[in-house]
Every structure is written in C-alpha cells, then in structure tokens.
C-alpha cells in the first residue's frame, strides 16, 4: 500500500464514541470504539512477536471510548482511552488495511480465498 492511500485527511468522531477516518483518496473508514480498543497493538495488549492477544476483553468496559487522539510522527495515531490505557500506536497503514467497511471486508475475503484456492 502506498503512503498516499494510507494517509488520513481528517480524523473525527463518529456517533458517540467511534472513530472515523477520511483518507487522502476520499475513502472513509469508521472504527467501532471497543473493537479498536481490543485491537490495541501495544506490547501490553498483544504479544510483540506472535500478535497473540494478551488483553482480557472481559476487563475492558463495554462503553470504552477514546478521550483524545494524537498524531504520532508521520505514520500513526495514538488514542487515550476512557479505561486509562494510552500506549497503543495505530499505524495508518494497518488501519487502512483493516478498514471494516463492507467493500474492504469483501475485497479482503476474496483475496484470502484466491490465495488459498487449490491449484
């Protein structure tokens, strides 16, 4: 993915707690707050080598929400959460790759099927 596709133009609130990103190419992604919190890429929440979740979903409040968002360097954002967590750095590239919209989910699913189709 090139830097241009993975470049946010605007980051804003969507509804009560969700995070919306409008990308430089015009695409719009909306990330549900709790999913984003549970997907926190920091070393405390996910094993750095295996990416195995270390976070206990049962201990994350159902209504967890971002209190603030900051840009990290030129490549990522960090979120200050209502449960006190703030160490996650979400790379723009992975956010774009994991866009939860219907179209992107479908494209990803098709790519996986193509990759695993027996020859």
């Amino acid at each position: 993915m090139d830097a241009e596709t993975a470049r946010p133009r605007e980051i804003a609130r969507s509804g009560e707690a969700d995070v919306a990103i409008e990308w430089a190419d015009g695409h719009r992604s909306v990330y549900p707050a709790r999913t984003l919190r549970l997907g926190c890429p920091c070393a405390e929440c996910h094993d750095e080598l295996t990416a195995r979740p270390l976070i206990d979903a049962a201990r994350v409040p159902e209504d967890v929400r971002p209190l603030g968002i900051e840009i990290v360097g030129n490549y990522a954002l960090s979120i200050r959460w209502s449960d006190g967590h703030a160490t996650g750095i979400y790379a723009f590239r992975s956010l774009r790759e994991d866009c939860p919209c219907e179209q992107c989910t479908k494209t990803r699913r098709n790519a996986t099927i193509t990759a695993h189709r027996p020859r």
Binding site: E10, A12, G68, I71
Partner: protein, 360 residues
C-alpha cells in the same frame, strides 16, 4: 516582431522558459520571481529559491538573464538571488522555528555517518542556511570532536543553549559525558533524550536540523520518527554489497514509519592515495548507486575515502570548511546541495506532507 512595449508582464512571460530541474516547473509558476521592475530598458528582479544551497542557482540566474536579454529593448539586467526555505505546513506537530528535520541514517555502523553529518551541516551553513546538528548517537557521540566544539551547552533553566561551531548549532550527549564515561540506557531513557534534544533545546530559527543517528533500526530511530514528522532521511552506505543490503533494512524501516528517504550516498567510495593521487576501489564502487536505482530513490553522490577527510575531522574542522576546494570537500558540498534540493522537492510537490486534521 512584437511591438509590445517592455513591461513586467512581458518579462514574466519570458521567464517561463526557465525551469527548475528538481521541481520540474517554470520559475514563474513556482512563484519564485519577485519584485520585477522595468525602467526604460533596465530590468531588475529577484528570484527567490527554496534553499540557499540550491545546486543549480547559477544556471537558473544565467538562464533568466538570457531570457530577459532576448526581449526587444532590454539594455541591462539585474537578477538578484535570495532563498526562503519552505516550512512544514502549519498544524503539523513540529518543533517551532525548525523548518525541516533530516535524519542521517545507515544500517551498519562505521560507514562514516557522523563525518558526513558534520560536513553536510557545515556545508549547508556556508551557503547561508540556518543549520542545527543533533548528535543522537548516545553510544558513541563523535560530533563534538569532529566539529571542534569544546564548550558545553549553557543551561537556561528549562532550556539548553546549543553550542555553535562553524556556523552550526550543535547538541550532543558527548557534551554531558566525562571522558571515558559510557551511556548504558534502555529504551525509555533513549526516548526521553530524543524528545529533550528536539524539544528542550533553544534551536531558534533553523532551515535544516540534521540528526546524526546511531546505526541500525532501534529505539532512537523509532523515537525520532514518533516524536516529529521527519522531513526525510538520508541513507549512507559504503559500496560493498553487504553494506548496501543492510542499508536497505534502514530504508524499509523509514518506509514503515512513513518517513521518506530523500536519497542515498556512497561513502568511502574509492581510496585516493595522498602521495600519488591514484584511485583504488578498496570496497568496490557503485553499490549504493545501483541500490538507489533499484529502489527508485534519488542518488546524491559519492565521497572518496581520503585521509584528509579524517584528519580534518580529528582536528575539529570539517574538510568543507578547512579545505573547501579539496575533491572530497567538493563532493560533500555538492551532496549537501542535492540534499537541500530534495528537501524542497519534498515540501513543494508531495501531498502527504499536508497536515492531518484531528477533530476529536
């Protein structure tokens, strides 16, 4: 033949043939042409470039003069050259007053990164640019010695005054260590140092802040890329294939962190014998150029392995200052100019330097 009287509009139209080779646009569209005055047959104007270190400054002036003289009725021309280095767009989290931050990086150690950083900083300062040099190599800070900076930074209470040598504002861990003392730090301390060197040093107004990084892809590189949006990185390599392979790892890291690679430089490119002047490719040659071509990165040139470069550094005066007409000094100065040009290209042509709006 045109019978139109000589006018500012006519002069501007004529100057559209002068194209900046890096930005690939004519100097009128780029807004470089200022203060056009036409008085009888005398034409005076200012060309405002994006860096005082512009590598094609004299060519642009020559072309502009020729274009104006070709107009009917021109008896004299007065073309002045100035420069204003473009800054990061407002709204980005940058160090106030510092327009561009460029990291000097390598995959491997011992490729001459610090020597190159010291010389590039001094060369840019010689062109009139306002330059800072941050030595981020805590393990082996060599910038103070290479720049002959023996003072210590003055503590201004909550801020530090950098040491100024050869026209360059310098900060280094080396200023705070006693001889023989070593820094044994884990990541969080390194992170803190990077943030303090960027944020708590009285840099003032700078066109370019060069950051001499330690080798590799570790904590300091990551901290730097997280703390600020880097304008870009310059990758230094020696010509050997292994060195070039490792340099590619550094490039991959900067790519992942969205810090653009502004170019590659080949250091220790051939040995020049100080006695007979004969050239010997000790480490081979052209490896970095080939890698740059393959990776579609700008190749900014090579610096020969000459003992004078090391001797001048040991004495505390970079060769671009001590002996500016030496072949290695000319090569280093040219690389500094090309680097400044790449910074301008980056600032003026690429959309991903636009600020990100956060409404949260």
């Amino acid at each position: 033949m045109s019978t139109q009287p000589l006018s500012e509009a006519l002069v501007r139209a004529a100057l559209r043939v002068v194209v900046d080779p890096d930005l690939r646009k004519d100097i009128v569209s780029l807004g470089f042409v200022k203060d056009v005055r036409v008085d009888d047959g005398r034409v005076a104007l200012t060309i405002e470039l994006t860096t005082p270190a512009c590598p094609v400054r004299d060519e642009l002036r020559g072309q502009a003069e020729r274009a104006i003289r070709a107009l009917p009725g021109v008896s004299a021309t007065d073309v002045r050259m100035t420069a204003v280095v473009p800054a990061a767009p407002s709204g980005t989290k940058f160090i106030p007053g510092v327009r561009n931050v460029v990291a000097i990086a390598s995959g491997k150690g011992g490729v001459g990164k610090s020597t190159l950083s010291a010389n590039l900083a001094a060369a840019l300062a010689r062109t009139g640019a306002r330059v800072g040099l941050m030595d981020a190599d805590v393990y082996g800070p060599s910038i103070p010695a290479m720049m002959g900076a023996r003072d210590v930074p003055v503590d201004l209470g909550d801020r530090l005054q950098p040491v100024i040598r050869h026209g360059v504002k310098i900060i280094s861990m080396g200023f705070f260590l006693k001889e023989g003392q070593a820094v044994v730090w884990r990541g969080p301390m390194l992170h803190k140092m990077v943030r303090e060197f960027l944020g708590d040093v009285e840099w003032g107004e700078l066109d370019y802040l060069l950051v001499d990084l330690p080798p590799g892809t570790g904590d300091i590189q990551l901290s730097l890329c997280q703390a600020i949006p880097l304008t870009g990185a310059l990758i230094v390599s020696t010509p050997q294939d292994v060195a070039v392979d490792v340099a590619r790892k550094a490039i991959a890291m900067f790519d992942k962190l969205n810090a653009p690679v502004l170019g590659m430089v080949e250091n220790m490119s051939g040995y020049v014998c100080p006695h007979c002047g004969e050239h010997d490719d000790l480490f081979g040659t052209g490896g970095a150029r080939r890698a740059a071509e393959k990776l579609h990165l700008p190749y900014l040139g090579e610096v020969p392995l000459a003992s004078a470069v090391r001797e001048r550094s040991d004495e505390g005066t970079p060769i671009v200052v001590a002996d500016p007409t030496a072949p290695a000094a000319l090569a280093l100065t040219h690389i500094a100019e090309l680097l400044a040009a790449q910074v301008s290209v980056r600032r003026l042509t690429l959309a991903d330097t636009a600020p990100i709006v956060v409404n949260f």
